[in-house]
Amino acid sequence: MIVSVASGKGGTGKTTVAVSLALSISEEEVQFLDCDVEEPNASIFLKPQIEEALPVSIPVPRIDQEKCNFCGKCAEVCAYHALAVLPGKVLVFPHLCHGCGGCSLLCPQGAITEVGREIGTMEIGRSGDIEFIQGKLNVGEAMPAPLIRAVKERARKSMNSTTLTIVDAPPGTSCPVIEAVKDSDFCILVTEPTPFGLNDLALAVEVLRKLGIPFGVVINRSGMGNDKVDFYCQENNIPILLRIPFDREIAVLYSQGIPIVQGKKEYMERFRGMMNRIQELLLI
């Protein structure tokens, strides 16, 4: 089963919830995927032993100057303007390339091959019984989606029918979030009871409805702002899975990189309860 943790708004507690959930479930094999590849933070809390680090590349064109006759077909078919053909010269802009393979496939001279351009690193390791995989986008790279795809693909290799895979997703509502949460059996949306939390929760809900993924809400820093998130969930028939109170002690634990379930053991049971609730919701 794949459970993703997303939020719309950043800083609501996705990593807190994802890490705590992973540490609370001991019966099954647990995989943890940090798919917030722009700013991966779960390793701060799970402190995994990294056993393998692999560069992740996307294929970009390389022009064989011997074969190229500068016909301009590649630039014409490229939807991302990653190629420009001048008389006697082809310019490649690798940062614009999405790696679709169109140019090499359609070059009439067969003059284009593809070479890898590294966009980040995938790290694989273990934190206790948890298999840990994270993506780290290189600074200056614009496209996180292929790296997220690589992390999920790697996870699929060691996944079996009883594995619980927890995906820590990036904030927002655009392509990296979609890449991280798609194929999930369930998505936990973490929010906070403020106007910002509510606004961005509503956007995240639209994303999940569009993708057809069942979901529920965790209200973090409960008691901090107002009740409008509660009313919104009630009106829209969205189950509230868990409330984590607004508590300075929890904020301090977080600041030190200590998972809430280790600093406050009673939360172990609450996160297990949340997982049971999710399983019940999926049976309905």
Binding site: G11, E39, C100, L203, G225, S255
Partner: protein, 308 residues
């Protein structure tokens, strides 16, 4: 005109709270919300929308069922897993369809379909708003749900905001940035005079601050750090200060955690307009320092003055 961008790497460190207050303090500013995924600045500045523009960006493929012979060529060539096989009840192939969310508009299927059954359609990816607020004109946007090209929409928001600032002779462009370090952050950084990095003293906050700092340096943008919720963990606050010192990046101010900020959020008002306490004073001081960087304002001296 000087462009100030508020970024953080990590989400939820207080970018929008700070941006809204700077907007309220700056005289003669244009405001822009470049967090087009999950925009929140409007919740504090309450813009009145004057103009809406559709944002068309890229294309998506669609299969004409009449023409399609189910050869599966598109399925095997698509690298974005955007071609889906729909099955009949008995498990046999019913038809091929494009998943518009996964499609990146590369046109490989369109060019290679042997029976020309694929057409490309323009994609409405969002909307851009030009608005008026109490504190000046504001440009903001809403990326369509599950759409891509947020970097392009960010670039468009900035371009419009710059045009307005130039046409109206404004001194400042104050920009609320997105979290992360990816395409929309890179687009936000282009041409900026100061990247104000809002950091929080948590281990995650420090990690993310360093990455976004690297990004600002990579693109040659002047960066300064503002520490929010500095009293959550003083050791970490000191670590941030040490990192900044080592890297030659100024810590331009800091704020303690305050429920006053939460109350101002709930009230929907920039905190400098909501209360006159310590928090508001610190932000006024920050703004004075920013003015001083660009030689626009009074150099700070001794006692802070109230300015509301």
């Amino acid at each position: 005109m000087k462009q100030i961008l508020v970024i953080s790497g990590k989400g939820g460190t207080g970018k929008t709270v700070l941006t809204s207050s700077l907007a309220a303090l700056a005289k003669g500013a244009v405001l822009a919300d470049c967090d087009v995924d999950a925009a929140d600045l409007h919740l504090l500045l309450h813009p009145v929308v004057k103009e809406v523009q559709d944002f068309w960006s890229g294309q998506k493929a669609a299969i004409d069922d009449e023409q399609c012979i189910n050869c599966g060529r598109c399925l095997s060539l698509c690298r974005f897993e955007a071609v889906k096989t729909l099955k009949n009840q008995d498990g046999s192939l019913k038809k091929l369809a494009i998943d518009p969310v996964a499609c990146e508009g590369c046109r490989v299927c369109y060019y290679t379909c042997p029976v020309d059954a694929i057409r490309m359609e323009d994609r409405l990816s969002g909307q851009l708003f030009i608005s008026e607020t109490k504190y000046g004109p504001m440009v903001h946007a809403k990326l369509g749900i599950a759409e891509e090209n947020s970097g392009k929409l960010v670039a468009l928001v900035k371009q419009k905001a710059q045009e307005i600032a130039e046409a109206e002779g404004k001194t400042w462009l104050i920009i609320d940035g997105p979290p992360g370090i990816g395409c929309s952050v890179i687009a936000s950084l282009a041409g900026v005079d100061l990247a104000l990095i809002v950091a929080e003293p948590t281990l995650s906050g420090i990690h993310d601050m360093e990455r976004v700092m690297d990004l600002a340096v990579h693109f040659g943008v002047l960066a300064k750090v503002f520490i929010n919720k500095c009293d959550i963990n003083w050791d970490n606050t000191r670590t941030i200060e040490e990192i900044c010192q080592k890297r030659g990046i100024e810590v331009i101010g800091r704020l303690p955690f305050s429920e006053e900020v939460v109350r101002s959020l709930v009230a929907g008002v920039p905190v400098v307009k909501f209360s006159q306490g310590e928090i508001a004073e610190e932000i006024v001081t920050l703004w004075r320092k920013i003015e001083a960087i660009f030689g626009e304002g009074v150099v700070l001296s001794g006692k802070k003055e109230q300015r509301f």
